[in-house]
Symmetry: C2
């Protein structure tokens, strides 16, 4: 792509050439909305409503308890897990679906620390998503064995991998900046230091190429409601390298992780495979919605998704630079597309009211404290011309100082 | 109720006098089915389909990320939690909804053990629901501080409450037999011994009167998909006595439990109230379904629900004794209704194929290993004449030895 000034016509030309454009009609998006927040909550697929209805009215309402057998509920979370595994290069048999990302992280960190009993450090970086840090802090305190959550700057991680490190815990694509770590390289470095790895794929699964088996990753977690379009609060997933499964011990041992849940034994015996990482009954209505999103993601070739995502983040960053110069915006996402996930983050001193004004005018991104406008690029339902229109609105809001209106300065819980 | 032989006419008379009969039409039950498994998976309310559709199509599909604020998603789990609290006599501010019963039990047991650092015993009974035992075992092993899960027979619990006991963990109504513990008495005895209590209300909430505040209970968990009719795998609830909240520390510390989740701080600081017990984002579609069930439960006066439940379990037990004598059935639920929850459990050497034959003929209860036929009584959607018809079918299956047919002897995962 050249660096000459882009026009809206350039972008409509990109839309005409877009091999993924047909996916847009599979989503139900409100008219007039430009949705740049699929990295927080993915959009709804048209097929989801029908699938959820069938789960509720036929499978639950008519099938009742029989649906555990007859509608395949027993196998449903595992089936979805395996499908997600195909999106992220998981080795077969390593994936499970259920619980939240945070709870799954607790399980995996607990397993990783148990597998490195002579080490005490969880190594991470301070910009990791807060819940990841909090879970590690809570687990360390719980164990009361002198564990430490050590946070070092991203470029100091490799050097910090010494023989005190039990586990390297990183989020592959940073939620704040969109910066992407070198998963294979850091996993190799961690292994060389005798440490295990836990990767958080919340902003990766369905958005960027991931090859868990190829990178020899030990553990991973991820989110169902962002690029997988699984619905609000969709159950999360986890991955355990099958080579670890026979010996791994999870800290939360519930009946779904038992080798024979319906024998109702009094003493826990872990299931042979990845089922040992599961705990309680999964929320099946939300599970049904998740599968629809995952199925669609599997239809789209990841190479095409990534190519469009890179083009979109490039275009968006260039438009911000070209059309909104002089307003104090600073793009904090990496300039190098190879180091960037599927979002563009832009700092501005008044990011909060600016984002409220954008949302009020139907361009939906989100705000991340203290000063970031976050714009997520979702190749399956977003077009290039929409990026032009979004940046033009941003320019208008900054030019006309719309964001100074009092209603945009009232803090709300989210965005 | 007399002990003379019951007739079907006696039962239709009870149905005519039933003040709760009107609730039946609020449920969507398949024609011809007699559903005696609401203690495993409650039935679907007609209103649920519409509520779930609105959550999916309007709130998610159209509202997108805005619904966290505009559709009140932020407050929704807490609102449902408070409603459940009204059903079980919770002190205000002590209830949270989310995660599975098992994960919630892990959180509360962890908090209880942390609050009794000089003690090492989790006291329970071997007939407790297995996941409760497994969670306690896993947590004890994780802490690696010499904790022990001590199991004693139900009638030995009071005597076993000594100064080694950190926490007494019991399920109020036993899943297998329906036997109900004296919650107030045992909580008082535990407190006298300096121990805390964790009560599992899976088979209590919505089924029997519970007064958590009145019994001065410390912690409780419970299930959304049984008598609350929240849908398959509905999110669970937990309770923490507000007097404990300021000091309690949970082992799983996720961002929803942070005092300011959207300030994205790097160090965990617990929320002031019960929010500190929450971890990750709740599965909102399943959450929406749960509220519909809880709202209906709040409409029904608990005294009437309990009175009908007692009458139903009495009637069912009498019918089994009167109509199925000589077939080797043994009622293992307590004869004293005051000590019994809302189910009747019947042992039989061939319980598995007998239950399969019942289900094949549209009387749905469940099997619990090794030899129990379990029949749940749900006063909101079950009539007395159905109990007659169910027992008559049982009699026919035992008389004609239908259960010997090969198809009823093939083991399936559930029931």
């Amino acid at each position: 792509m050249t660096t000459s000034a882009l026009t809206r016509e350039d972008l409509t030309a990109l839309d005409r050439a877009d091999t993924l454009a047909g996916f847009r009609e599979r989503f139900s998006l409100p008219a007039g909305v430009i949705y740049l927040d699929g990295n927080s909550l993915g959009a709804m697929l048209r097929a989801t409503a029908g699938r959820v209805s069938a789960m509720v009215e036929q499978e639950w309402g008519t099938g009742l308890i029989r649906s555990w057998n007859e509608a395949g509920w027993m196998e449903l979370p595992g089936r979805i897990a395996d499908k997600i595994g195909r999106l992220i290069g998981a080795a077969p048999g390593g994936m499970a679906v259920g619980d939240s990302t945070s709870v799954n992280l607790f399980k995996l960190l607990g397993a990783a620390l148990a597998a490195r009993p002579e080490r005490r450090v969880i190594l991470t970086e301070p910009g990791n998503f807060p819940t990841d840090l909090y879970i590690a802090q809570g687990l360390s305190k719980l164990l009361a064995q002198g564990h430490e959550v050590r946070m070092v700057a991203p470029d100091e991680i490799a050097a910090a991998l010494d023989d005190s490190v039990a586990v390297l815990m990183l989020t592959h694509v940073n939620y704040h900046t969109g910066a992407m770590f070198d998963m294979a390289g850091l996993t190799e470095a961690a292994h060389a230091a005798g440490a295990l790895t836990v990767w958080d794929l919340a902003h990766s699964a369905g958005a960027v190429p991931v090859d868990l088996a190829g990178a020899d990753v030990d553990f991973a977690v991820g989110c169902g409601y962002k690029y997988l379009n699984g619905g609000p609060g969709a159950p999360a997933f986890l991955y355990v390298a099958p080579r670890l499964l026979a010996d791994v011990r999870f800290p939360i041992t519930g009946w779904w992780g038992h080798v024979a849940p319906f024998s109702f034994e009094a003493v826990f015996r872990p299931a042979d495979g990845i089922a040992r990482a599961t705990v309680g009954t999964a929320p099946m209505i939300s599970i049904a919605a998740l599968e629809v999103g995952v199925d669609l993601a599997l239809e789209a070739p990841m190479a095409a998704v990534r190519a469009k995502s890179v083009a979109m983040t490039d275009v968006f960053a260039r438009l911000v630079q070209q059309r909104c110069a002089g307003f104090g915006l600073e793009i904090i996402s990496p300039a190098d597309a190879a180091r960037r996930g599927s979002q563009v983050s832009v700092a501005h001193p008044n990011a909060y009211p600016v984002m409220q004004a954008l949302i009020a005018h139907n361009v939906i991104g989100d705000f991340r404290a203290p000063d970031v406008l976050r714009f997520g690029m979702t190749p399956l339902y977003l077009g290039f011309a929409e990026l032009w229109d979004a940046v033009e609105l941003l320019r208008r809001i900054l030019t006309e100082e719309t964001w100074k209106q009092p209603q945009f300065n009232v803090r709300r819980s989210v965005t």
